[in-house]
Symmetry: C2
Subunit: 340 residues, 2 copies
């Protein structure tokens, strides 16, 4: 079972929590300046060590240079590697069986230790990355400065090297235009809001990534607590906005949600953009109790599986655009079948 | 059971057949020039005679001046009276129980004897109006000229006073643009094509009224036969166009039809225009075998029942626009329920 198939706290609005640590090895130059031999040394020493010392967790190791374009694309779509690592031949990733742990090697930093879980679970994610951090720290020498903390390629990561982010589903913020007020407000508080696939990407299906921007001057624990607080108040606000929408014009909202359900459970081909938009409506419908018998985890799984590369990867063969859209529609119909 | 709840030949494309005769009484001026007393005389003598002499048929008589705006509107929507009669206080209509026979009194002519049936049934409609024509001819003196035949208010009806028309469902003609070629071609052959509610109205849901234009120089039988021939070839062409669409891009067509079904069976409010468009898609889906368990007669009934005045009339109370659209969506969902 993958992480997104499990339920999490406030999971109807908090789609997923991710925490990652940026770490670099003291004895090597930053990834951009390493020789190929050095890249290989880091890649294999870190992955071997993780696989042999992980205890209960079963890890698998993927080297970017051995992967085809589609597999790489599907790893990006499932947030297991960053778009940046996707372009790096000398990179690799160590993944847990349920995809909840991913350690990228030779991305912008030597190590990006990530934990991802469904719902709002910052504490649990932090615990996981800290455990892995300790494990690696016991065997490798990290680049560290007493003054700056962990040294990273990009100064925005200096200090704790921590970035924590929440994927939030905010359809009522989007619908009411409230999102345009939320974004600058969160900016002032030191948080960043981005689209589904990180920096520079657009919000799809009213999904927004809210993350902490400050790694200096705050302890990991403090950074996490502040994010948790902001997330909870954003979720509260989203719920209020939904109630207002529902009180103001219940038929409008019900109609929109049922139509989304009607289209998704009947369409024979559908683009990723339209599907994301309609799944967003359905997700809200489940959350406010209009749609029964559909689980949030089923929808989370769907959001992963209907992305372009995931579909092609699952098909195991090249697909034309129409075939892909047909396959996507089929996946969605299966997922929404009443027996599910 | 109303006429539109019964199946008719080629009913998946030929929605309904209408035949009407225009007749005037020799001893009265044309309706526009009658005194109120004369209007009343015609109204009551004709309706009383019909009701008492109709044999097996049970007729009911409605006087326009006694009807409210909504009831009148719903009669127009069900093609039982013309938009023209709707505005005439001195008019009336005699209707059979299944609404398949309607005799308008004091419309443009003293009498408009109409028979309407589902499917392509020109012969049967002609037989019905001829029988009623004979019945009335036995009791009243028609305005008649040896040279011109039956005298009518409008010269286009002179002669046989016959107009026969078919309501055809031509989505493939519409989709492929072929309709723009069909229209002038039919015009050259002496036929007229109009929208759902006659002259000057737009085609809604790909429904077109094809009717004969010539009443002089052709016998009733000849006029009917020519129309039958043209209708059959138009239906054949429509079937071919559907096959071409299906061969060319089956997924496109299937997707459109299933989406229409998904929206109609889930929407919580819907305008008349959107509903007509989507019912058109479903109708084609039933016709080409993509949708099962939906009957054409159920769709015919729906086309009648979802018209604005019919909905308000059925509700028995004034409705806001939103209530009307909600009621329409409800009617459609009920009709499309799998048990139906």
């Amino acid at each position: 079972m993958k992480w997104y198939e499990k339920d999490g706290e406030l999971g109807d609005i908090a789609v997923s929590t991710r925490v990652r640590l940026a770490r670099n090895l003291k004895d090597y130059p930053f990834p951009g300046r390493m020789s190929q031999q050095q890249e290989n040394e880091v890649l294999h020493s870190v992955s071997s060590y993780l696989i042999s010392s992980a205890g209960g967790t079963t890890f698998r190791f993927l080297e970017l240079k051995n992967l085809d374009r589609i597999t790489i694309g599907s790893l990006v779509e499932r947030h297991l590697i960053s778009p940046e690592l996707a372009g790096k031949n000398g990179g690799g990733v160590v993944l847990s069986g349920d995809d909840s742990v991913s350690i990228m090697i030779n991305e912008e930093d030597h190590l990006r230790i990530q934990s991802i879980l469904s719902g709002l679970r910052l504490g649990q994610c932090l615990e996981t990355v800290n455990r892995l951090d300790d494990l690696l720290d016991g065997n490798f020498k990290y680049a560290w400065s007493d003054q700056l903390g962990y040294l990273t390629h990009c100064p925005t990561n200096l200090g704790t090297g921590l970035r924590a982010s929440l994927m939030l589903h905010l359809p009522a913020h989007t619908e009411t235009g409230e999102i345009r007020r939320l974004l600058p407000n969160l900016g002032k508080l030191g948080f960043t809001v981005r689209g589904l696939y990180g920096e520079g990407t657009k919000a799809s299906g009213s999904l927004y990534q809210l993350s902490n921007q400050m790694t200096l001057g705050l302890s990991e624990q403090e950074a996490i607590e502040r994010l948790d607080e902001v997330v909870r108040s954003t979720i509260e606000r989203e719920k209020n906005l939904r109630n207002v929408m529902m009180e103001k014009n219940p038929i409008f909202l019900e109609d929109r949600i049922w139509r989304a359900y009607g289209i998704l459970s009947n369409a024979r081909r559908i683009s990723s953009g339209e599907a994301m938009k309609l799944i967003s409506d359905i997700r809200m419908g489940v959350s406010i109790g209009i749609l029964k018998d559909i689980s949030i985890s089923e929808l989370n799984k769907l959001i992963c599986n209907i992305q372009t590369n995931c579909i092609i990867s699952a098909a195991g063969k090249p697909l034309t655009d129409v075939e892909r859209d047909t396959e996507r529609a089929e996946l969605i119909r299966q997922a929404l079948k009443p027996t599910n």
